[in-house]
């Protein structure tokens, strides 16, 4: 029996609501996924029946909260095949994780003569923190160009081999084009150069297994709001051998060993990098989002999502004046990103909203990608397992109507 999308959809009450009088068609999951009942219930239950802070209190509520909090860390470790629970740093999201890698690890490794390679397809979260550090240290940032199909160009490997490459930063899948990158190839290459690979897996975690140890990358970051979890929670996964090289990037509670006015000593990672009161309910909800995903066959979910993207791409590319980004590789993230001649993405998105369809319009926090293809922005339709083929048909039909409305003005 195939994937039961009707049954799966019952987990998401938001799918029952109407927008502008029409049933909601939610095609913005690459920005944030809808939340299943189980995750919302877990967070609600924590706030209504516990709410105590973790890691400090001796009383029962604190013990319960701490246990649930640390269970989430254990779930994350298993989910991404991290080497240990110590290698799982809980953060406030993917951007926060990358900032911690840059300022807590890379800052002490980089010198002015070094080079950091960043994929042209990267989103701002994996560009800007490096640029901010560059201002302090003065190293070189070089982009890894992408070709017309969104693939990373490999020529730069031979051009920069033997030079002082310290970091390669890329996403497993571009959030603007959906294109999957060959992470293992880049990891092997940067390791030969004596450098590190920083992988942004924000667009990967909800669509299939991410295998940290199997990929061999040095660092991995992601957020939970793109994988059925709450906002404001993410994770940084580090190879164990790098943990002792981290320095704290924020000071305060949780990350200390002992504090005196004469000086402070610090806890070891992951607590070293988790200063302040954590988002306890969010982390517990994040653990539940993993349990939710594990309740289904990940290959079935991914196959369904991939077929939605394929159908959408075929429907959209048949429309006159449409320019698609990326390519048709089934390994890509399930999203379709495109521009339409003489139709601004914001105007199209507004008209589609009138039919109950939620898509993303704009530069998707990846302006270099837009510059590369000469667009100020695109429409991005992105899918998760709760979407249906009927919704895709409806979307393509209403897209055609909206384009006609704007062109016939």
């Amino acid at each position: 029996m195939g994937f039961d999308v009707t049954g799966f959809r019952k987990n998401f009450p938001a799918l029952n609501r109407k927008v502008c009088g029409n049933p909601l068609v939610y095609f913005d999951s690459a920005a944030s996924s809808l939340t299943p009942i189980a995750v919302a219930d877990k967070i609600r239950d924590f706030y209504l029946n516990n709410s105590a802070n973790v890691h400090r209190g001796i009383h029962e509520l604190s013990e319960e909260g701490t246990t649930a909090f640390e269970q989430s860390r254990a779930e994350i470790r298993t989910f991404v095949n991290a080497p240990s629970e110590q290698s799982v740093v809980l953060s406030y999201g993917c951007t926060d994780s990358i900032n911690t890698i840059v300022n807590g690890f890379a800052a002490s490794k980089l010198k002015s003569a070094d080079t950091v390679l960043i994929a042209e397809s990267e989103h701002h979260a994996n560009i800007v923190p490096w640029q901010m550090l560059q201002k302090k240290i003065g190293f070189e940032i070089v982009k890894i160009p992408i070709d017309e199909h969104g693939r990373l160009r490999h020529e730069i490997m031979s051009e920069y081999a033997g030079k002082s490459i310290r970091f390669v930063c890329l996403a497993s899948h571009s959030n603007a084009t959906g294109v999957a990158h060959n992470v293992q190839e880049w990891t092997q290459w940067v390791h030969k150069q004596g450098g590190y690979l920083v992988l942004d897996a924000a667009q990967a975690v909800s669509h299939g297994a991410v295998d940290f140890k199997g990929l061999g990358v040095d660092f991995l970051s992601f957020s939970f709001h793109k994988m059925y979890g709450p906002f404001g929670v993410g994770a940084l996964i580090s190879k164990e051998e790098h943990l002792s090289d981290f320095v704290p990037v924020r000071g305060g509670g949780e990350m200390i060993d002992s504090v005196r006015f004469s000086g402070t000593t610090f806890a070891k990672p992951p607590q070293l990098l988790e200063a302040g009161t954590p988002n306890v309910a969010g982390v517990i909800g994040a653990g539940e989002s993993i349990r939710f995903i594990r309740g289904f066959d990940s290959k079935e979910l991914a196959s369904h999502e991939s077929s939605l993207a394929k159908m959408c791409r075929e429907g959209v590319q048949s429309i006159e004046g449409v320019e698609l980004l990326g390519n048709e590789d089934p390994q890509n993230a399930p999203l379709v990103s495109f521009a339409v001649k003489k139709c601004h993405p914001h105007d199209l998105s507004t008209l589609l909203n009138g039919y109950g369809i939620a898509v993303r319009a704009g530069h998707h926090c990846a302006q270099p990608v837009m510059d590369r293809y000469g667009f100020s922005g695109t429409i991005r339709a992105s899918f998760l397992a709760y979407n249906t083929h009927d919704e895709v048909s409806y979307f393509v039909e209403k897209l055609k109507t909206s384009i006609k409305m704007l062109r016939d003005a």
Binding site: H346, D347, G362, A409
Partner: protein
Amino acid sequence: MMEYSTKLKQLARERPGFGELLHYDHLLDGRNRKCGDHLKLYIQMHHGKLVDIRYQGDACALCMASASLMIESLRGSGLPETLKNYTELQSVLKGKKTTSEFQVFSGWAGKTMRSGCIDLPWKTLFQLNEPW
């Protein structure tokens, strides 16, 4: 309801005031950081009066229509009248009914993101740090 009225679509298509001024005293750049849309305003002044203004850019229909209406409202107007017009536009975006040309944007009252599109030409204009 968010609506692309005939008037609005006409403004976005015909773009009154769109183009470059060969002789200008001020070139102002405006950018919507949330979407990447951008506008350029070319302004020619003479003895403290705004003589001519045109715009160029890559932006959505709302922003283009707003830029055109702004430019129409600026012709022959001084700063006090311009500020009054801007207040009128803001009232429309807060849901107030007016008899002004800006009523064309009434469907976007309370829509924060799209109000930013409508606001961009004006925010760009107000970078001009001299009265007229």
